[in-house]
Assembly symmetry: C2
Homo-oligomer: 111 residues x 2
């Protein structure tokens, strides 16, 4: 599994994912590429509105774009998506009750 390391990239990726419409756009793009105007239509946004979201997604490298004439196609960047999955999955937390763990820890800290 590929993995992200650059903090600036990670900031950008998670900021991009922190907005419902951008997650919805990615969800769409997971099935098929789309044009800028179709995305605007489908997500109830003005063209400048969708444009900004796409810019955020592109700067996070979560999507790639390709111009064909005056039409601009957008697709999911699977490589980056897998990198995000890699980052998230590197933290394996064991099963167990947090409250209990914290109680024990506090108890162990008492003088």
């Amino acid at each position: 599994m590929p993995k992200l390391h650059d903090p600036v990239q990670l900031d950008a990726v998670f900021a991009a994912l922190s907005h419902q419409k951008r997650r919805a756009i990615l969800h769409d793009l997971a099935f098929r590429p789309a044009t800028v105007s179709v995305l605007a239509e489908d997500h109830g946004l003005s063209l400048p509105g969708i444009y900004k979201h796409l810019k955020v997604l592109e700067e996070a490298q979560l999507v790639i774009r390709k111009k064909a004439g005056r039409t601009n196609f957008v697709a999911l960047n699977k490589r980056q998506w897998r990198a995000v999955q890699g980052w998230i999955m590197q933290y394996h937390t064991e099963w167990g009750n947090d409250e209990e763990t914290l109680e024990n820890y506090i108890a162990s800290m008492r003088p």
Copy 2:
């Protein structure tokens, strides 16, 4: 694997992860719980500074807290962390070159 559904929660979780210091705090907490002041010290922040970050993490339910006297202990909320992993991993993208996929798609769209 548990999974997140509420868009507001997802917004909060990814916004929380979109800041380097908060990711560093979570990284710390993955090993052991800590107090507010120790976290402030370790991450070079004033007490109000760390406090705000912890509030963001707590609202995203990524950490839990427990007061013991005047000391406030913070721990990773493993359940929520696993839920985030679940959300991320539900999108399985097959291996393959995006550029190529997009090229093919554009070609298939041409009149």
